[in-house]
C-alpha cells in the first residue's frame, strides 16, 4: 500500500531546525511536526511510497540499517499524518 501527501505545493512544508511546520491549505491549519514526520512528508511530496520503501529511503538518510520496529514507527507516524489529513493511501 503506497502513501502520498495531500499537500499540493512544496511551499506548504518548511524545515525549522529539527522540526517542520506544515500548512494545510484545505483546512487552513498549521501543524508542527517532529523530524521523522517532517522527513516522511518531504519524501512523499515527490514520490508515493509504501512503508518498506520509506524505511529504505529514511534508513539511507539516517545511516541506519532497516529494522522491523522502525517499520512500525513509520506506520505510526503515517497514521498520525493521516489523522491530520496530510497523507492518504495512494
Amino acid at each position: 500500500m503506497k502513501w502520498r501527501t495531500r499537500l499540493n505545493s512544496e511551499e506548504q512544508l518548511r524545515q525549522m531546525g529539527e522540526e517542520y511546520v506544515v500548512y494545510d491549505a484545505v483546512s487552513g491549519s498549521t501543524h508542527l511536526l517532529g523530524a521523522a514526520a517532517g522527513q516522511i512528508l518531504l519524501h512523499l511530496e515527490f514520490t508515493p511510497m509504501d512503508v518498506h520503501n520509506l524505511m529504505i529511503v529514511l534508513g539511507a538518510e539516517w545511516q541506519q540499517t532497516p529494522e522491523s520496529d522502525v517499520e512500525q514507527g513509520i506506520e505510526a507516524v503515517l497514521k498520525e499524518l493521516q489523522s491530520m489529513d496530510l497523507v492518504e493511501c495512494a
Binding site: 506548504q12 518548511r14 487552513g28 498549521t30
Partner: protein, 303 residues
C-alpha cells in the same frame, strides 16, 4: 506641521470638522466634539504630523448620544465609516475608546500586512517583537524599553509587510493597565501619561506618551531579529530560555490577527519572519534587569 503647533481651541475646532493626522503608515480622520478626545490627543499626540484632508485610511467619529443619556450617565459612541462596531462606553472612557477603536480599525482592515498582536521595538536597526497574551507584562516591558531608548514601533500591533518582511511602525501611546501604571511612573517619573480612567473593561487604564524619536522616525521600517515571549512573574529572576523556531511559529501564529485569513501567504510570511529571529521565552520581575538583558540580546546568525 505637527499637532503641538495647534492651540487647544484650534484643535477642538478642527476636531468638530474632522481632524487628520498620521500615525506611521496610516492617516486617521477623527471627528469629535468631546473635550476629553481633544485633551487626550493634545497630550499624547503632540509630536504627530498633521495630514492632508484629502485622504484618510480610517474615518472615525466619537459622539455623545442625542437622547436623555446625554445628561444621565453620559456615554460615548465610536463610529467607523458610519457603522458602530462597539457598544457605547461611559463618557469618561472617550479617549481610551478612541485608542481601542483605532487599534480595531487597523487590525480589522490592514491585510496587506501579517498582523501580530505583539509589541515591537527597535534598537540599532534590529527589532524585538514581544508576543504575549494580555496580562503577561508585555506593555509594561514595552514601556520600560521605550523609556530607556528603544524606538517604539507599536505596543499592540506588529505589522509585517507581506512584500519584504520588514516591520512597519505604527507608534501610538502605550496602553497600561492597573498596577503597571504605578510601576512605570516609578520607573520614570518624567514619563507623560493620559489621565487615569477607572472601571473600564480592562480595569484601570492610562496611556503613556510615545517618545518623540519613535514618532519622528515612524516612517523607518525595521528588520525583526528577536521574537520574545515575555511573562512577568512576581519576584522572579530574569530568565531567558530559547524556544525552537517551530514552536515559536505556532505561538506567534496564535497571536496573529489575520494569519488564518492570509492563508498560504500568511504561512510564508510567518515562516520567513520566525526563521530570521532568535526566539526566547523571557521571565522577569525587575524592569531594570529586563532592559539590561534586552540591551545585550545576541544578534541572530544570518540565515
Amino acid at each position: 506641521m505637527k499637532l503641538s503647533d495647534l492651540s487647544l481651541p484650534e484643535l477642538n475646532r478642527q476636531l468638530r470638522q474632522g481632524f487628520y493626522f498620521r500615525t506611521g503608515a496610516f492617516v486617521v480622520n477623527v471627528k469629535s466634539a468631546i473635550p476629553a478626545v481633544a485633551n487626550g490627543l493634545s497630550l499624547m499626540y503632540a509630536d504627530y504630523p498633521l495630514a492632508d484632508r484629502a485622504f484618510a485610511d480610517f474615518h472615525v467619529t466619537l459622539t455623545k448620544p442625542h437622547h436623555w443619556r446625554r445628561y444621565f450617565r453620559p456615554q460615548v459612541f465610536f463610529r467607523f465609516e458610519g457603522t458602530s462596531p462597539f457598544s457605547p462606553l461611559p463618557l469618561s472612557q472617550a479617549f481610551p475608546m478612541l485608542e481601542w477603536g483605532m487599534n480595531w480599525c487597523i487590525s480589522s482592515n490592514a491585510h496587506s500586512y501579517l498582523m501580530i498582536h505583539a509589541a515591537v521595538l527597535e534598537k540599532n536597526g534590529r527589532a524585538a517583537i514581544l508576543a504575549a497574551p494580555p496580562g503577561s507584562g508585555k506593555s509594561t516591558l514595552c514601556a520600560a524599553l521605550m523609556l530607556r531608548g528603544w524606538r517604539l514601533l507599536s505596543d499592540e500591533l506588529t505589522l509585517v509587510r507581506l512584500t519584504d518582511g520588514r516591520i512597519e511602525p505604527v507608534p501610538r501611546p502605550v496602553s497600561l493597565k492597573n498596577a503597571s501604571i504605578a510601576v512605570i511612573r516609578d520607573f520614570d517619573p518624567l514619563a507623560i501619561f493620559s489621565p487615569v480612567v477607572r472601571d473600564t473593561v480592562k480595569g484601570t487604564v492610562a496611556h503613556l506618551k510615545p517618545s518623540s524619536e519613535s514618532v519622528q522616525r515612524a516612517v523607518e521600517t525595521a528588520t525583526a531579529a528577536w521574537i520574545i515571549f515575555p511573562q512577568y512573574v512576581k519576584e522572579s529572576a530574569t530568565v531567558a530560555v530559547p524556544v525552537s523556531a517551530g514552536r515559536a511559529m505556532m505561538r506567534t501564529a496564535d497571536n496573529s490577527f489575520n494569519y488564518g485569513l492570509l492563508g498560504q501567504q500568511g504561512f510564508a510570511a510567518m515562516a520567513a519572519l520566525v526563521s530570521r529571529c532568535n526566539c526566547i521565552d523571557f521571565r522577569y520581575s525587575a524592569l531594570n534587569e529586563a532592559v539590561q538583558y534586552f540591551d545585550h540580546l545576541p544578534v541572530p546568525d544570518p540565515a
